[in-house]
């Protein structure tokens, strides 16, 4: 009995190992056709689901599909400007249209003069930029909240505010998406101009989402500062600001950086909130208020319809996202947070 119990717990523990390796291998295998086809150029290629001519002399198919793509973009832009409040619905319709036409293009592929190419640059850029915006927005506020909870507020107020902040973290991400789309984005686009669905609004809502997470870990790091250090500084006549700046911050610096990186890892993989707000079009953004797409959103919106090389390309994106977030979380956990303890 003892033996069985021990074996069971050992195999459950090993399951974690198997799962992680399994995820990696599965993603790699599923992405293999796309990796073979596009190699590392995938990362720098901005065209997604675009047909190119294999035979340079027959230019017709390329120019044809190009105009189709252009027309789609034009109509999409036009509608966004025309009907500001209805844009989401419109865009979704367009997305469906997009897919229909893509399917038609795929059918045309039988002619064998064109092939469809996939490049991951747009979603990769979109993911990185939304994450950066989220961090830039959340960082100062999260630090403020952490200082408030750890140093300023009386104990009972800190408790209540602490629970409230953690409840913010518990709200499902899809709720952030809906609220962001219908209530937050209109205000942002009034303030900064541009579209309601854009890098900026997606990044800001993402910032609100990682805010409580970042604040909680930062507060925990700050709380590890020994009271003796703080009290000696106060005894020397330091103000609260000086104690925080010169004692607590240097002491918990490593832990705070760890918490920021961990929040970064979270923001990279967030799907639902961003899916509502980023616009979901494979176009490189020219301005911060332009719509674009991120890796998780590209997967969420296209996975169901994709097949063959398209699906493989999505797995390629998933693999890239998995490796990036794995690396970032490892750095945060094993370098910064370990050192902090």
């Amino acid at each position: 009995m003892e033996k069985i119990f021990q074996k069971l717990s050992l195999s459950s523990a090993s399951l974690v190992f198997v799962l992680l390796i399994g995820i990696f291998i599965t993603l790699y295998t599923a992405a293999k056709p796309a990796i073979d086809e596009f190699g590392f150029d995938f990362v720098t290629n901005p065209d997604w689901n675009k047909e190119v001519s294999l035979n340079p002399t027959s230019l017709n198919p390329t120019s044809l599909t190009d105009t189709v793509v252009d027309m789609e973009e034009d109509s999409l832009d036009g509608e966004i400007i025309d009907e500001d409040d209805m844009e989401i619905a419109d865009e979704d319709d367009d997305a469906i249209l997009d897919e229909d036409e893509d399917d038609m293009m795929l059918d045309d592929e039988d002619d064998a003069v064109t092939k469809t190419i996939y490049g991951g640059l747009v979603p990769i850029i979109g993911t990185l930029l939304t994450t950066l915006i989220a961090l830039a927005f959340a960082l100062p506020i999260a630090m403020g909240i952490a200082v408030f909870l750890a140093e300023i507020a009386p104990k009972n107020i800190a408790n209540v505010v602490g629970i409230a902040i953690e409840l913010l973290a518990a709200i499902p991400s899809i709720i952030f998406g809906m609220w962001g789309l219908y209530y937050f984005a209109p205000i942002i686009s009034d303030l900064f101009g541009g579209y309601q669905v854009s890098l900026l609004t997606a990044g800001l809502v993402l910032g609100v989402m990682v805010l409580p997470f970042m604040a909680a870990i930062t507060r925990d790091s700050m709380n590890t500062t020994p009271n003796v250090l703080k009290e000696s500084a106060y005894a020397l006549g330091a103000t609260k600001f000086e104690v925080i700046k010169d004692i607590i911050f240097p002491f918990s610096k490593v832990g705070i950086i760890g918490s920021i990186i961990l929040a970064l890892g979270r923001a990279l993989g967030e799907t639902m909130a961003v899916a509502f707000l980023i616009g979901s079009i494979f176009v490189l953004p020219q301005k911060i208020t332009d719509p674009t797409i991120s890796i998780p959103v590209a997967m969420a919106n296209n996975f169901g319809e994709a097949s063959g090389l398209g699906e493989s390309a999505l797995f390629y994106l998933a693999l890239i996202l998995f490796i990036i977030s794995f690396a970032i979380i490892s750095i945060a956990k094993f370098y910064f947070l370990k050192k902090a303890n």
Binding site: L10, S12, L15, I165, A170, I171
Partner: protein
């Protein structure tokens, strides 16, 4: 001057706490106004096909419940291994990997389950959705179990062993009992987290307009349906999405808070 800087800094800090609270209040008030506006008890009696949410709510609970049935024993057993049996390196590696998995992008886990379950079995199914949620849940349960068991004093274990109990008896009857409340809180928080998940379900369980208990086909999911409904052009669909979001958030917050209250009362 120093005092002035101090004042400004402290006000900024209070201000950021207020901003955080304002966002929470804004989201909750929006949910209450929009959600309650389209809320009626008929939602609990009809399925989505008739404009209700009954099948979705039940479906979401079944998915999350099944995920818990898979995930809790596995996670707890793994946590017990790390804390009680594991020696040195291997246990530490598992602990670190489980920490990493806790922050893995949920959509990637969805894609993984799609490749290993949905594709071989020929289509989306309730099982696939539950497995995806279980994978999300396992590292959280491991983490809680690990942390809570580490708080149990060594003397308790030694006393048990001294009485001649075998190690697994000590673990089950003494260590787990001592850490019960903490572990339960962690499990409730983990449950609250997975019941609100959308991304891992998008292409594993999908959703369904009809009531279904058949786990081998597309399974009704509240969160996935919210996503679909919110993107529909009709006002009625969006109202339904708001009502569903309201119900979902209330559920999640109640589970989350009750988890916290268990620990508080015990302490």
């Amino acid at each position: 001057m120093r005092l002035l800087i101090n004042k400004i800094f402290l006000s900024l800090s209070v201000l950021s706490a207020l901003i955080g609270l304002a966002f929470l209040a804004w989201i909750l008030i929006t949910l209450f106004i929009k959600g309650l506006g389209s809320f009626h008890f008929g939602l609990f009696l009809n399925d989505l096909i008739d404009g209700g949410l009954r099948n979705l709510i039940i479906g979401q609970f079944i998915l999350a419940g099944l995920a818990s049935i898979i995930g809790i024993p596995l996670g707890m057993a793994a946590g017990i291994y790390i804390q009680e049996y594991g020696q040195g390196r291997y246990a530490n590696i598992i602990r670190d990997l489980s920490d990493i998995m806790m922050s893995a992008p949920s959509i990637v886990i969805g894609a993984f389950v799609y490749a290993v379950v949905v594709v071989p079995t020929g289509g989306t199914s309730g099982f696939a959705g539950a497995i995806a949620l279980a994978i999300m849940m396992i590292p959280v349960v491991i983490n809680t179990t690990d942390n809570m068991l580490s708080l149990v004093p060594r003397e308790l274990r030694e006393a048990g062993i001294a009485l001649g109990a075998s190690k697994y008896k000590v673990i089950i009857d003494i260590v787990i009992k001592a850490a019960k409340v903490g572990i339960m809180t962690g499990i409730l928080l983990a449950f609250a987290r997975i019941i609100g998940e959308t991304a891992p379900l998008l292409f594993t369980s999908e959703t369904s307009n009809y009531f279904s208990l058949n786990l081998t086909e597309s399974f009704p999911s509240l969160t996935v349906s919210i996503y679909d409904l919110a993107n529909e052009p009709e006002e009625a669909s969006r109202d339904l999405a708001w009502a569903a979001s309201f119900i979902l958030t209330v559920l999640v917050l109640i589970i989350n808070l009750s988890g916290r209250f268990i620990t508080r009362n015990k302490k």
